[in-house]
């Protein structure tokens, strides 16, 4: 089983994140980068499938040089090798362009199964898995809370608001996962050491038969027109309990649709 996991380095949600004023893209240099949390679950799932069935796990990321840290993390967890799609021409690519680039890279790598986190914590479009499947012409099984491989088929429990759907497709396929699926392992000390010796192939736009004029901020079919900082948080509501406190608190929660 040849599994490719797409991972993305995102700014730490605990650190301050800003868009740059010049080109309205995320200032990735300023924030601490780490692996998108859901991608840890994707890596874990790939490792578990490999451990059960044999095969190889390749990590694929598109991002600046700094994204090598995230590759290292996935390799430390136990992935076998990595492909890093890195090219200045890719800077500012939107979801459509990113999916085009990743699809080309995936064609070049070859795969039986592609696993992704169902969304990233920075852009949160949540559309990449679908776009990849479409471009690659393979089935998409999204929001998986459980994955089973059975010969040439993949079955997932697709998480929904009311429970889950059982969805089945034939391999090769693209699967996106949610937190419920597993508990990602920590890299082990040995894994950290071993990761340094694992192969990381760097690919540029020219290596994946992609036209540089089709990617990047200037050519993006979607555009960030304007952005504004989130308004500072307004003062909270203080309920003074004079016998009515409970009712007032309940009313407040109800007004915000929490209850």
């Amino acid at each position: 089983m040849n599994i490719v996991v797409c991972v993305k380095q995102v700014p730490d949600t605990a650190s301050e994140r800003n868009l740059k004023t010049d080109d309205k893209t995320l200032d990735r240099e300023a924030a601490d980068g780490l692996m998108n949390e859901l991608d840890e679950y994707a890596v874990e799932e790939a490792l578990q499938i490999k451990e059960a069935q044999g095969g190889e796990v390749t990590v694929l990321t598109m991002g600046p040089d700094k994204a090598a840290e995230t590759i290292r993390k996935a390799l430390s967890m136990g992935a076998d090798k990595a492909v890093h799609l890195v090219d200045d021409a890719l800077h500012g690519s939107d979801a459509l362009q990113t999916s085009a680039a990743l699809a080309q890279a995936l064609r070049k790598i070859g795969f039986d199964l592609v696993i992704l986190g169902s969304e990233s914590t920075d852009a949160r479009t949540g559309v990449l898995a679908a776009m990849l499947a479409e471009r690659l012409g393979v089935p998409q099984l999204s929001l998986a809370g459980k994955v089973e491989i059975d010969g040439g088929n993949v079955r997932v429990e697709r998480q929904t608001d009311y429970g889950h759907d059982k969805v089945e497709g034939s391999l090769p396929a693209v699967v996106s996962v949610v937190e419920k699926i597993n508990e990602p392992r920590y890299p082990s000390f040995k894994g950290i050491m071993a990761a340094k010796k694992k192969p990381v192939e760097k690919l540029a736009v020219g290596d994946i038969e992609l036209d540089a004029a089709a990617v990047g901020l200037g050519n993006a079919p979607t555009q960030v027109v304007e952005f504004a900082a989130a308004p500072p948080r307004a003062a909270g509501t203080i309920v003074t309990d004079e016998g009515e406190g409970g009712a007032q608190a309940a009313d407040f929660l109800a007004s915000k649709k929490f209850v």
């Binding site: 890299p187 082990s188 000390f189």
Partner: protein, 382 residues
């Protein structure tokens, strides 16, 4: 919290410390207070540490160990102990319990037992003390009597860390009359008929770490679970303790550092007489003394560790490090409570826990009187 800036010998050691800090932040720190209050032993934390390779650090790579020098292993222990002594001391005890098989076991024993010991699948306990023999450890009476190709073991061990929760017990028992040369070392798997742990002691601190008596009632142990030769048990136990004392020194520095960090943070926040209490010289001198003592204690255990790593004798240096560092931990944690004033005396802040934890470090693995005895004997019998 960025943590202590450490002198580390390699990039891999730096990455190891980062991994340890991540595990502490995510898996340990959030649950310490609750588990200590509930007296709940965090067995799963040891499994996680094991899977991450942190129970194997000082052991040889060929048996699944991390192949790290003591200089590095001890700093990991220091970090863990500052977060939670139940875990840090637990790791030290596990190392102590794994040492006999790793250093004196037969090839077959190592192959069979070490992978699980070092990988976190099995947790160890070290059984030397008895109700009637503490400092005078060689006076132990638990008896192992030959019975065909096995031993029958009968007696009571006392103060056993991990009693009842361990998967294996490194046990010292008497196989002949001679006081120190009549002791042998055994590997006793949990669940062996005749082995029973009493209810845990009600301790001053480390509530989440069970310490209990262990009774052996005619327990039958196959001969191939004896570790080393008959009569070699006491030297094995003492060699384990030499290294173990370095572990206790590192645990002590961890607890002391945690107390100082808490005290410094608090002193900068707490205001009296219109300014932060940290601005009063009377208080900042106390913090300065604590920081100095901690730095000295750390340097002392690291120097002893480097001697060990270089293959030089280090027994007296280990005793000095254990003695000094645990006394520092006691003093610093007591002073940290002082810095917090009344708030230091209640469980809402961790400093009272550090103070209760520090006390045990002056007692275990040879009381500080016994450390002086070791150092004094070294000076006067050379």
């Amino acid at each position: 919290m960025s943590g202590v800036e450490r002198s580390l010998p390699s990039d891999e050691a730096r990455e190891l410390i980062e991994l340890v800090r991540e595990l502490i932040a995510r898996e340990i720190a959030p649950r310490v207070a609750a588990d200590e209050e509930a007296h709940a032993f965090p067995r799963d934390v040891f499994t996680k540490l094991g899977r991450a390779g942190l129970l194997s650090l000082p052991f040889a790579e060929e048996y699944g160990g991390g192949g790290q020098p003591y200089e590095v292993y001890l700093q990991v222990l220091e970090e863990l102990s500052g977060a939670w002594l139940t875990v840090g001391l637990g790791v030290s005890v596990h190392t102590l319990a794994s040492f006999p098989v790793a250093a004196y076991g037969s090839e077959a024993q190592r192959k069979r037992l070490l992978p699980d010991m070092l990988g976190g699948e099995t947790l160890g306990a070290y059984c030397l003390s008895e109700p009637e023999s503490g400092s005078d450890a060689a006076a132990l009476r638990t008896a192992a009597v030959r019975d065909g190709d096995a031993y029958r073991i009968t007696g009571t061990k006392a103060w056993i860390t991990h009693a009842g929760v361990a998967d294996f017990y490194a046990l010292m028992a008497r196989t002949a009359e001679h006081k120190s040369r009549g002791i042998s070392c055994f590997h006793v798997p949990a669940g062996t008929p005749g082995l029973a742990a009493a209810a845990p002691e009600h301790k001053m601190g480390m509530h989440a770490s069970p310490t209990a008596q262990l009774s052996l009632d005619g327990l039958r142990l196959p001969e191939d679970l004896r570790v080393g030769e008959e009569g070699q048990g006491f030297p094995i136990a003492m060699a384990a303790l030499d290294a173990g004392r370095l572990g206790i020194a590192a645990c002590s520095v961890g607890v002391a550092q945690a107390a100082l960090d808490a005290a410094v943070d608090y002193a900068k926040e707490r205001r009296q007489f219109g300014r932060p209490i940290a601005e009063f010289q009377g208080l900042s001198f106390l913090l300065a003394d604590a920081a100095t003592q901690i730095a000295a204690a750390r340097a002392l255990y690291l120097e002893a560790a480097r001697r060990k790593d270089a293959g030089r004798p280090y027994g007296p240096e280990a005793a000095m490090a254990k003695l000094f560092a645990s006394d520092v931990a006691m003093r610093v944690t007591t002073d940290a409570v002082q810095v917090f004033g009344g708030y230091g005396y209640v469980a809402d802040f961790p400093v009272e826990r550090y103070m209760r934890e520090a006390k045990v470090l002056q007692i275990v693995e040879g009381t500080n009187q016994i450390q002086r005895l070791v150092i004094g004997r070294h000076l006067t019998t050379r």
